[in-house]
Symmetry: C2
Amino acid sequence: METSSSREAPRRAGRPKRAVLSPARITRAALKLVSHDGYQALTMAALAKSLNVAPSALYNHVKSKQEVLLLVQDHLMAGVDVTGFANKPWEEAVVVWAYSYRNVFAAHVPLIPVIALLPVTNAPATITMYEALTQGFQDAGWPTELIIDAVVALESFIYGSAYDANAPADIFDAGSMAPQTPYFTASVARRGAGLRSISGSATAGGNAGVARGDADAAFDLGLRALVAGLAAGVQLRPSQLSR
Amino acid sequence: METSSSREAPRRAGRPKRAVLSPARITRAALKLVSHDGYQALTMAALAKSLNVAPSALYNHVKSKQEVLLLVQDHLMAGVDVTGFANKPWEEAVVVWAYSYRNVFAAHVPLIPVIALLPVTNAPATITMYEALTQGFQDAGWPTELIIDAVVALESFIYGSAYDANAPADIFDAGSMAPQTPYFTASVARRGAGLRSISGSATAGGNAGVARGDADAAFDLGLRALVAGLAAGVQLRPSQLSR
């Protein structure tokens, strides 16, 4: 990615010399724009302005808004926690990883189509995350040929859950149809009544003792079910799953 | 939704009388536009033109493109198969439902943020789907207070999987970083080698005997793991799970 910097020179006569544009500087500016005004404010024109450069200078480094989004996505991926794979059983490490992954992108849902649909080729932090992740699966006894399918299944759940973390509280309000939909209406009304977790304590992911909302409860339920189902399916080596 | 039709009159003088606009007609026109030219072609201006009406007439029925997307989403939701909940064990019915849900929206990924983030209040087909679904969960012995969390967990997985069904074949190409990422690179290279399913035959969902791609394999693996994990967690009544 750095190679495009060489295309910046020569500058136009009369334009004041500024700090050289770089992917890192573009990424920081894009994140700042997004954190102030949301993703709808992230245009190539606004980004060039915030960097105090002409749009043509910006286009010398990134060909499109899509490329800017890829830079931002890769930057954020460094915040996804894969440390558990070095020292925890697979079932715990994957829960820690999934919570951090979902939390990072719940704050950046417009990036989800970017992660889900663009090749990782130019995203070094993303590739580094996948290396630690796949090594963790391999070390836990996962058959090599199933690792990517399992990762994709978990990521699909995580991306959808990141959307759901942004769902409004009234998303399941049947409105005037409520009298005709008694099962749905009762399920929505009683959602989360009583205990939140069906599988005992929810200590992983740093959520122990914290009152959690609907989205967190659904995420926790699904994540534990998915992880348990995956572990049961591949019959991981017992030594890897016990403490 | 139909009540907005009353706001259509009076027409502007000189504008030829045409078939009255309705949500159904707007939905059909939007789907036709999208199927020809994709979601980027779906603008209020293009939609008005395809309906042969002035944009102001269209705005009398739908306040924004977001409302058009909600109409289209609700229309498509009628194609999601909930029939299994009437006559199959829960674990089979939910697999049939999930396959059809993912297949419908894999062809309409720009609608995923709409489904995931907008209230169902004005989406009658969606509410009807949820009624059949929640009744199916209740009949299978699911505790009422857990049904919506379980549905949301399954939907999160389905939405993410609908994105993944559109991922390019080279999405996991590490490119020049391949030599530094041996675990990831080996996992990607061997993805899907040998048997596709870890849990026996994959007869549900209408995919038996069909050669499946990477996205289908990941979806099948994750769906079966998630369903098995959910079923184990709630300890459904045995009578509901046996044939």
